[in-house]
Structure formats: C-alpha cells, structure tokens
Symmetry: C4
Subunit: 267 residues, 4 copies
C-alpha cells in the first residue's frame, strides 16, 4: 500500500461508515421517540445483519489485499538466514482487519440468532477498536515527534470509541452515546485523511517540519476542528431526519407520499 493511499482509503471507509451511522441512528431514535414507523423499527434487525456482512467482506478484502499486494508478505511471516520478519506493517494491518471480520461475524450472530445477548455486538466492536489502537500504539513508538503526535490524536479518538462501546454493553439505546460514536467514526475518517496529507503529501516532497513545536500545537488544535466538523455533520443529519419526521407527522399521508417517504431513507 502506498503511504498516502494507505491512510486515505481507510479514511474513506470510516467516513462512509460514520455518514451511514449518522443516518441509521437518527432514524432509529427519532422513530422510537415518536412511536410511529414501527415498519422501520422492525427492519433494523436486517440492517444490522447486513452491516455485519459488509464488515466481514471488508475484513476479508482487507486481509487478502494487505497480503497479496505486489510488495506484500504473501502469508510469509519470516524469511532468510538469519531469520527476519517479512513486512510486519502489512501483517499488523491484516491483524486489524481480522478483528473487523470477527466483529462483523458477531454482529450477524447477535441479530440473527438468540445465542448471544444484545450488547455483544458492541462489546466486540469495542474489542476490534481496542486492537486497532493497541497495535497502533506500538507501531509509532520510534517515529519523529509530529508523526507520533498526529497518531496520538487518532489514538485519543479510537480509545474514546472503545470506552463508548464498552459503556453501551450495559446502556442500550442511549441516543447520546450513539451519536457520540457517530461523531468519533467521522473524526476517525477525516483524521486519517489529515494524517495522509500531512505526512505523505501527494503533491511532492513533505513540507512539514516534523520536529517543529508550533506544528504540534497546530495539529492538536486542528484535531478539535475536525471534531467540531464531525459534530456539525451529525447534528445536521439528525435535524434533517427529525424535520422530515415532523413534516410527515403533520398530515395524513397518502399511499404515494408514504412510499416517497420510505424511499427517502435510502437516499
């Protein structure tokens, strides 16, 4: 994986997940508070199973992609005499994808059977995120100051998400926690973009001095701006859904209006 694309691609992935979640949780909580749309409520189970399946597929694609890119390890772990590790970076990414896959599988089992209680899906998502943060933490320990710092910001977002998931094991359907997780997913995504553009600028040589303290000060501040942006996106999405719901509830819908309304959730 090229260094720039290696940060931007997962960044796109997390941003899309965040946007999708901002729609899903807005719908879920608004339909629940209004005690209408039981049709939507019933369908959430299928939505969760589909989401789990998407995570399993993404996990598999990620593992195979990391292993079989031209300069990947092709499932060799060590090689040569004296033995040395082969492409540990790709192996680490594969490990992260493995836990994404496990998390997806647990999602499917939680929502399609009665084997596991509600909350297990959240617990395993927390574990998957913890593994991501855990591997990252030892990934960056010998890098220059700004590189460490910009990744430390990412770790802050990741461990906040881990904590949120673990609280959700005990506190179900709390709209505050759900929306916070949405914000953190968006932040995770946009921050990966930021890392890509700062450390591996696509338009030529690195322009950032990795040991300048003022860059470090800017980066901590910039992280807060990303978070403010994530809050804004989540709030706008939530408000739009709430407004749509309110407009809908003001009139007795005809069948065509009803259809249009349901269809609007897919857009």
């Amino acid at each position: 994986m090229g260094q720039f694309m290696g940060h931007v691609l997962p960044g796109i992935f997390f941003t899309l997940f965040g946007l999708w979640w901002s729609v899903k949780y807005s719908l879920k909580h608004i339909s629940r508070t209004q005690k209408k749309n039981s049709y939507i409520q019933r369908n959430f189970k299928h939505v969760e199973i589909t989401e789990g399946a998407v995570k399993v597929v993404l996990g598999l694609v990620g593992i195979l992609g990391e292993q079989f890119v031209p300069d990947g390890p092709h499932f060799y772990l060590y090689r040569g005499q004296p033995r040395s590790w082969v492409k540990l970076m790709n192996w680490q990414h594969s490990t992260m994808y493995l836990f994404l896959l496990i998390s997806g599988a647990v999602d499917i089992i939680t929502y399609s059977t009665t084997l596991m209680p509600l909350g297990m899906d959240r617990f395993m998502l927390g574990i998957a995120l913890f593994v991501e943060g855990f591997v990252f933490h030892y990934h960056i320990s010998l890098r220059p100051m700004l590189d460490q710092h910009i990744h430390a910001m990412l770790l802050t977002a990741i461990f906040a998400a881990v904590a949120t998931c673990f609280i959700q094991v005990f506190v179900h359907d709390n709209v505050i926690l759900d929306l916070f997780l949405v914000c953190l997913a968006l932040l995770h995504g946009t921050w990966l973009w930021q890392i890509g553009f700062v450390l591996y600028p696509p338009w030529g040589e690195p322009e950032w001095d990795l040991n300048d303290h003022s860059n470090l000060m800017f980066i901590s501040m910039c992280f807060c701006w990303h978070f403010a942006l994530a809050i804004l996106i989540t709030a706008v999405n939530y408000t739009l859904k709430a407004a749509g719901d309110w407009r809908y509830s003001c009139k007795i819908p005809t069948f065509e209006q009803d259809l249009t309304y349901e269809a609007s959730f897919l857009i």
Copy 2:
C-alpha cells in the same frame, strides 16, 4: 491579550459562573426536596435557555476578541515564505471559545425542543471542557517547571469537571455531583487568578523562581486551599438558601413577603 489580563478575565468569567451556579443548584435542589416552589421549578427551563444564550454570546465575543485584538491573527492561519503559523495562541483560545459556543447552542436546543434528551447539555459541556484541557495540555509542554506545574493543577480541576459532566449524562439531578461541579467552576476561576498573579505579577518583574522545588510544593498545597475556599463558598450559599427556604416555610406568606422572597433570588 496581555498575559496577566488573559488569565484574570477568564478567571472572573468562571468565578461568576460558579457563583451563579451555586445559587441555581441550591435553589433547584432545595425547592425540589421541599416539593414547594413549583413556580421556581417551572422557570428552570427558561433559566437554562438564557444560560445557553449567554454562553453562545460569550463564545462569539471570545472568538472575535481573540482574532481582532491589535496583535491578533485576524483569521489568517499561516503567512510568509517559508510559511509559518500566525498567532497560534490566539487560535487555540478561539478554538476553546468555539466549543463554549457549541455547548451553549446545545443547551438552548436541549431545553427549548424535544429533539435531544436531557443529559445532552451536560455531555456537550463535558466535551467543551475536555477540549479546553486537551488544548492546554499541549500548550504548556515546553515551559519551565513551575509554569507546567501550575497549569497541571488547572488540568486536574478541568478533567475532574469533565468526569463529573460525563457521569451526569447518566445520573440526573444528583445534588452531590451538581455541587461538586459548582466547586470546580469556582476553583477553575480562582486558580486562573492565581496563575496570573504567580506567572505575570501585575506589579513589576516576576518574583517567583520557576525552577525552585519548594515553590512547586507550595503551589500544590495552595491549590488545595483554593478548593477548600470553593467548598466553603458553595456550602455557605447552599445553607443560606436552605435557611431562607425554611424560614419561608414556617409562616403563611403574605403577597408582599412572597414578592420579597422571589426578589431575593435575584440578588
């Protein structure tokens, strides 16, 4: 912002907020336990919305003030060749005020609509305080020992307040947590004064040796004294209101007494 005034002004702001909260929460909990004064209880919603509006205005004033003071950045982020950051300190303060503004806006929405559940206002207050602490933390990393230490004390108060806010998302109307937050707001304010007087004494050159270990020992102790003072102020305010409430409940009030009583809350 002059360094001394830059600490004393927000110090006054936090102290006033703390004093106001010590009145608000005393009234709230005493009127609730006595199951009287439903008049006051009903008005709390309007009080919270007004408080939110004040926070929005203060946030805006803070951002614009930091940007447009004579030596401010005037919304320029970088400048020159090679590029260098413009007045990062002012930008960091603007970022803190931005989250104060967001917290105020969420207060207004939480109490004036049914879009968001109770607790969201506390959550966003916690986030705003976290951002303050987060930016501060990277703000002070290259300063002399006493400077770092005196700000570390501030961070202790800030993160204690963050933790309290996050607990309040789940535990509503707990008088212990409310009064603790009042104490921390007062402590936050008086400690900013202390920082101003220690690091930037208004009457001439700095007299404190920033690398003397005994100064550091004194400062940790002094922080505890500020906290004891904050507890005292909160306790006195709470007791006064409780005593007033008790005196009031002992007699059948005439209309004039009633008026005087209500007016007394404004003083």
Copy 3:
C-alpha cells in the same frame, strides 16, 4: 514532629480507625441482614455523628500541633529577605488535617440534618483522601528510589480508598465496598508504621540501602503481605460478630444476657 513519630502516630490513628470500622460495619451489615437488633440500627446515626466530631477534633489538634510544635511555622507562611517558605512540610500536613476536619464537619451535617443527601459524607471522605494523596504525590518527587517507592505503595492504598468512596456515593450499604474500605484503612495504618521503621529506624542509623533494587522488590511484596494481614483482621472481626449474632439468635435472651450482649459491642 520527629520523622519516626511523624509516621507512627498517624499510623496508629489509621489503624485504630480501621479496627473501629471493622467493628462498626460488621455490626451494621450483620444486624441488617438478620432484621433484628433494630436497636443497634437506630443508633448508627448517633455513632456517625460522634465519628464526625472525633474527626473534627483530630483535625483541629493536627493543625495546631503541626503549627505550634517547637520547630513548627507558627502560622508564618514566608519569612526573610529574599522571601522563603517556612516549614512547608508542616504546612502540607496542616492542609491534610484541614480536609479531615471538613470531612468530619460534613459527616455531622449529613447525619444530623436533612440538608444533605446520604453519600455526601462518603464523597467528602473521598475528597479528603484525594487531597492527602495529591499533596503526598508532589511531596516525594525528589527523594531516593526506595523512599519514592515505599510512598508510592501508600498512594496505591490511598487512591484505591478514594475510588471506593466515590463508588459509595452511588452504591449505598454495599458490604463488599464497606469491608474493602476497612481493609484499606488498616493497610494505610500498618504501612505508615512500615515506612517509619524502614526510612527512620528508631534504633540507630538507617540500615536500608535506598538504591538497592532488591529492597524495592521486597517492599512491593511486603505491601501485599500487609494487605493480606488487613484482610485477615477484617475477616476475623466480621466472623466473630456473625458468630456472636448467631449464638444470640439461638436462645430467647434474658434481660441480663441482653445487657451483656449490648455491652460486648463496646469492648
């Protein structure tokens, strides 16, 4: 305060408190589960108020003692030209005693009025312990390795007690938390003795090499032994009370037996 006595005296104080608590909480929980002895149950309020008064008196004695011992600061904070702090160590101990005093005062108010909810006494005890740990933490930062380490063990016990107190604000009358706090009080006491004997041996010059790593390993292990001892003392006390209660419940007591039984609690 002589260094040896300065550790042994508060050690005796905490050990006595721990022993007294092991009796109090054993009685409280055993009488509650058996739904007998409502006589004892009703008296707990007076016991708590008395305990608060003892803490207030001890706090006052502590503050005055630290200030007016022959080589104490006599309430002078700084002195000389250039100004230097006077006896910061005594001032720090006075600060700790101040919070003990506040905690005692809150105990009295909580149990003798309806102004404050249950749990406030625990919260303020937690704050008092936190202040002790907080001041200690900056107290020891420039000492030799073993000195720092042996105090770090103390901090572990103190912060565990702080955490327990804060949980007790929300979880009342949990026997596990109460007995854990008893253990930590005993541990706090016996460990202060250990510190006194290791760092300031009363029988002549210090025999411990403060920079020997094997001493450090022994001390961490020794701390666990103290904890095991504290568990043993608590368990024996709890079992004795439970056995006494059981023997008592097996027969219809005569008035004399009843008197003897009540008297036995005082021993």
Copy 4:
C-alpha cells in the same frame, strides 16, 4: 523452578482453568436462558465450592513448592552478614499463590454460608489478580526491552481481568463479562507459554534479539492473535453447548438419553 518450566506450568494451569470456565459458563448461561436443566442450576453451588477447594490446594502446593524446591528459600527471608534477601523471586511467587489461596477460601465461604453476599468471590478474585499484576509490574522494571514488553502484554490481560472482576461485583450473571473473563484466562495461559518459548527456548540458546524493535512489533501483534484464538475456543465451546442443548430440547428424552446427556458435561 527452571525458567522455562516456571512459565509453562502456570500457563498450563491457566489454560485448563480457562477451558473449564468456558464449559462452566456456557452451561450456566444456556441452561438459564432455556429455563430447563434446573438440575444443573442447583448443582452450580457445589461446583463453585469445589473450584474454591481446588484453588486453595493449588495455592498451598504453589507456596510450598516455591519454598522447598532444592534452590528455594525454605522460608528464610534474609541471611548473611551484611543481610541480603534470600530468593526474592520465589517469595514473590509464594505471595501470588497466597492470594490465590485466599481467593479460593472466599469462594468456599461465599457459596457454602450466607455470611458473605454474592460478588465477594469475584471481588477477591479481582484482588488476587491485581496482586499478581502488581508484583509482576515491579518484577520486570530492570529487564531488557523485549522482556519488559512481553510481560507488559501479560499485564494488559491481567488488569483487563481485574477490571472485569470488579464490574462483576455489581453486575451479576452477565454472559458477556463471563465469556470475556474466560477469554482472558485462556489468553493468560497461552501467553505464559509464549513467554516461556520466546525468553527461555527449551531447544538451546536464546535466538531472539531482545533489543530489536521489529521483534517488539511482532510480539504486540502476536498477542492479538492469541486473543483471537481465545475468542475462537470460547465461541466454539459455547456454540457446541448451545447446539447440544437445542438438540436435547427437540425430543422427549428417555432415561438413558438423559444420563448420557448429563455425562456429556463431564467430558
């Protein structure tokens, strides 16, 4: 204790405990949800008491073994002139076994009497694990980088288990927490094997460069793989029991089938 066996033997012990727990908790939660097998449910009390007895015996054997192996301390703590500590490593292991013994004793008392509330067994298990982690933490502070790192991974697993036990004091019979503890027990066991094979390879001289950063990166990743394996083993065991339970519930069992079914739990 030889260094290799010293890691592999407790490793086997924890793995066996983990496997046994994966069976026990699967049975417990599946039988509970189906509201059948009350026979099994009633027997859990005896199972817990037996488990406690096993822990007491193992603890005793461990203490005596560590003391009386040929090069053990034979209960001498210090010796010689100048005094030096005798075999502190064995004493530390003895301390860990002592808390295992205490935890076992508390298990027995919790389940065989009404003296202690449910949750006390979990609390003491948490304390025993905390002591293990606490002693370990100071055990490894002067070792080479990889040695420290590989033990730090172990500490992560231990303190996660401590946190889980402490949550279980308040949240009983939560299947997610129970299964997580099973995973951590298995991880604890297999990771001790890993430590033995990395630091003290039984087939000759150590091949691992203890200061190579890429080894450190591999080890963090390898730890995640062990965890994934522990999740797999737990999931398979849980699914097998659930499937067996489901097959059982589909037919009216004859007496022989019933016997076979019960017997299958022992395998």
